[in-house]
């Protein structure tokens, strides 16, 4: 992906650029709002990573400007402001995702690639499939190797999200956000518990484990390693 990082803290910007480049993405860094806006408007990027606090034009205004000009480029906000109101303001202001500092690098990568995938999808598919696992979104059925699988509503939502991001690493906070609709982190292992029950139904007895745990980061649904 072609990624524009607009961040005034040199160290942070370098870290992000380095990390993403190692993943094979092409990264440009802009050190302030005005140059970021200029670059964003003149070159085509697949993703913008924007710090909310910038010298010159601030992140929110920048994104609002490009949205007003009709751009649909996915935007990931970064911010030291971590309050719920700040997040809501960011998402309402045209952002697609919001990550507060300090963030784990793996979290950043997962969300960046999820945003990239989301943008490249054309129409919404009605069937999601990986290997012999098939999920029919219209008929609301799941089956593996032809055998139907009974899932509870929450388990269904988890599997659907993993399928939509198959091949990508999905972090626990992403699951909490999209499946439970909340950002707070419960102290206990809510996500692990539900995922483990779901993967038992999906993987046990089928030979190949489709749902893999990525230690310290999250989960990934894929066929093979």
């Amino acid at each position: 992906m072609k990624i524009l990082v607009i961040e005034d803290d040199g160290e942070t910007a370098d870290d992000i650029a380095h990390t993403l480049q190692k993943r094979g993405h092409w990264v440009i860094v802009a050190p302030d709002g005005n140059s970021g806006l200029a670059l964003g408007m003149t070159m085509a990027f697949d993703l913008l990573i924007v710090d909310r606090r910038l010298p010159g034009l601030d992140g929110l205004s920048l994104v609002r400007t490009i949205r007003d000009k009709g751009s649909l480029m996915p935007v990931l906000f970064l911010s030291a402001l971590s309050g719920i109101d700040d997040r809501v303001a960011g998402l309402n202001g045209g952002g697609d995702d919001y990550l507060s500092k300090p963030f784990a690098v793996a979290e950043l990568i997962a969300r960046v690639e999820a945003l990239g995938r989301r943008a490249s999808l054309g129409t919404v598919p009605s069937i999601l499939a990986v290997a012999d696992l098939v999920m029919d979104l219209v008929a609301r059925t799941v089956s593996r190797a032809g055998r139907p699988i009974e899932l509870l509503p929450r388990e269904w939502q988890l599997l659907e999200f993993l399928l939509r991001h198959s091949g990508q690493v999905v972090t626990k906070s992403m699951l909490l956000e999209h499946v439970w609709g909340t950002r707070f982190d419960p102290g206990t292992s809510v996500v692990e518990t539900h995922v483990s029950r779901m993967r038992k139904k999906v993987d046990e007895g089928f030979g190949l484990d489709l749902i893999n745990t990525v230690r310290g980061v999250g989960y990934c649904l894929r066929a093979g390693d």
């Binding site: 109101d85 929450r154 950002r183 419960p186 102290g187 809510v190 539900h194």
Partner: protein, 480 residues
Amino acid sequence: MPWLIKPYMTTTFRLMLLYATTLIVVGGLLFGGMDWLVDSQMTRDLDKSVLERIDQLRLTDAQEGIKGVALIITRRTSEAVPMRYFYYLLQAPDGHRIAGNLPEMTPWTGWRELPLPEQGNWPEDEQSRHGLLAMGTRLDDGIFLVIAKDIFDLNVMKDRLHLSIAAGALFTLAAAVAGGILISAVFRRRLDAIANISREICHEGNLSRRIPLRGNNDEFDHLSGHINSMLERIESLMAGVRQVSDDIAHDLRTPLTRLRRRLENARSHAESVRDYEIAVERAIDESDTLLTTIGALLRIAQIESHLQRGNFGPVDLSAVVLTIVETFAPVAEDQGRTLRGIVAPTVVLPGGEGGDSDLLIQMLANLVENGLRHTPPGSTILLSLEPATGTRGPQIVVADDGPGIPAAERQKVFQRFYRLDASRTTSGNGLGLSLVAAVAKLHRIDIRMEDNHPGLRVVLCFGGARAPRLTGSPDGQIIP
């Protein structure tokens, strides 16, 4: 007693002045009206008496002729009456006077004012008040008749009235000003007392002082009571802030110290890259814990300062509780405990403000997690939602059958970082219940912790409202 505001600048005084002016204006109109009424009445009477006499003399003229009229007039004007009120003139067409005590004059008809012919007969101080109101008319044969009356009485009455009005107005003004100053002074004394003490409290920074109450339950006592409530609130907030700062300093220092020690150990004792890797991993974990704790603290602070009301909307309590039950039931099972739910359907959050579903979910999650953490395996946690009844709003109960919390500690557990001695070593940072308290306060939820016989029973009552209290100084009376 220092006058903090100049007397004439007080609102009381200004009001008094306004009131006095209004009184004077109204009074003036009243008196003026009375004056006019009396005046017109007396004038009418006077007119009538003159006209009657004219009619009478006309009759005489018709019956007995001019001679008869002249006789009557002569008789009337020759009576030795010291206070003469009526004056006559009977004048021939050629201008000579036939009878009467008025001088000859050019004939006219209608009402006229004339000067008194015998001015010198009256005492000097009265002379200006005398004057004649005369009616002139023509009899047959061109005879000119004038009958006039002294308007002395009228003038005297008028003068008296004007005097009364002036006196009245003056008295009103004096009373108003004096009253204004007096009442103003009374108010000032009460207000100054309150103002002085407020100033002293600000100056000294001593928030435990209160304004003394007089005890007569008047508006000043109420004002003082409200200020005292405010002071109490500020005092408790300050104490809270101090407490929080202490808590934070203490409870963040411990993990930070631990972190530092680990890194120091690594520096002195690590021998291989692997050793360093492990040390760095552990340091990151410790830092993450710290960051989570700080994040939670910030969250609680935000919630407590009511910044979250902007996200309020309608809340389906049944859905919220069901989400918690469905989310945590498997978690409880994995931990060897049971979570059950009894949820009444279609219960909504009462009140017009709404609430924040996310915060309420987090609050209940904390309570449930607390239950899981502090009960032994095999315990059951029951989460129930009851709809509103006639006497109270909807109610959520989180009850477990574990060891419970001793009555003495039930209030303290809501303090930040507070850990029961029995649970100092379990996981968790002790902030969970502080968050519960903050969210509850934001949504005006009443929390009660009770003994579940056995275990802990947390009752959350929705739709509570707290009425303001009045408090007095410690040595004064307390007004309910």
